[in-house]
Amino acid sequence: MSNLRLINETSATSVSSISVTDVFSADFDIYKVVIKDVDSTAENYTYMKLINSSGSIVTASVYDYATEYLRSYNTATPVIGVATGVFPRFGVQNTGTSDGGTTVAYIFNPYSSSTYTHFINQHSGQGSLGGVGMKGLGQLRENSSITGMNIYPASGTFDAITVQVFGIRVD
């Protein structure tokens, strides 16, 4: 049996955001998150916030990140932020079917309340000018127990989106 275990798969259509809840637990320390088949009503970035063990979306200014924004039609651009209220470069959304592409992220130690939650993410998609990609990382700079994620478009709504969460099991 593979040590990569599918915990949850959630799909939605015509939504302003999608939350995957109660997916991070003491059972795993590392999670692989795949966001795919993204279609939306606007071309923009996909944002991500974390959900704590009380079920509340963390909205405080405790998100730090560093992303290399990659484009087939222009030079790469660093996008960095400290003490923001969101991870604003978790992916890209676009108006064509699945044009938002796919984000693959790894989340480290979200459930532990004794260390920060970290992530690394990589994205491939397309915008109106050509292919786009991202390579990034970030942290939630607070010691809190995180159990889920909230994903939403910077503008418009998602026509379609699927989020898969896998746990990487240590036996």
Binding site: S112, T115, I168, D171
Partner: protein
């Protein structure tokens, strides 16, 4: 993609260096690290390749990566080093910790160099997230079965697991 665990080590007390083995064929392997940290501020965690007989300490480690950091993006490269000296750098020994997903290629092939991809993140000493994304090569045609970690301070925590990619 599937993963089969071949070995794991959890560090709970100060350790200068340690090894993880279990590489026994020409498959691609994945090294997953969670909750890694060091005993004092600004200490590092480096990496070497080796066998059950010990780590290869020769100056044959090259790497090229991009450091993503909330203080800015930095080119990170070196040749002929005594280890991959960019795994976790200037760690913050409290609050934060380190995580990584690294793929290990051609380790078991005695006719090839050993290749590593880095995808790491940790909390830098000034509280910002910091990580290297790139690749490295150990430029020796030899069979490697183990990863050695440490050499930049005392490692105090972390779970370090090698999976075979299936």
């Amino acid at each position: 993609m599937g993963l089969l665990q071949v070995s794991t080590t959890t560090i709970t007390s100060p350790t200068a260096s340690f090894s993880i083995g279990g590489i026994d064929d020409n498959s691609t392997y994945m090294l997953a690290i969670s909750n890694a940290n060091v005993s004092s501020q600004n200490e590092d965690i480096y990496m070497r390749v080796g066998t059950s007989s010990g780590a290869d300490t020769s100056a044959n480690y090259d790497y090229a990566s991009k450091t993503l950091y909330s203080g800015g993006l930095i080119d990170n490269y070196a040749t002929n080093q005594g280890y991959f000296s960019n795994i976790f750098i200037n760690m913050r020994s409290v609050d934060g910790s380190g995580g990584a997903i690294m793929y290990l290629h051609n380790f078991y092939d005695s006719t090839s160099s050993s290749f590593v991809t880095f995808d790491n993140v940790h909390t830098y000493t000034n509280l910002y997230p910091y990580g290297v994304q790139g690749g490295g090569v150990h430029t020796v045609n030899a069979q490697q079965t183990h990863i050695y970690l440490g050499y930049g301070g005392n490692i105090t925590s972390g779970t370090y697991t090698i999976y075979k990619v299936i």
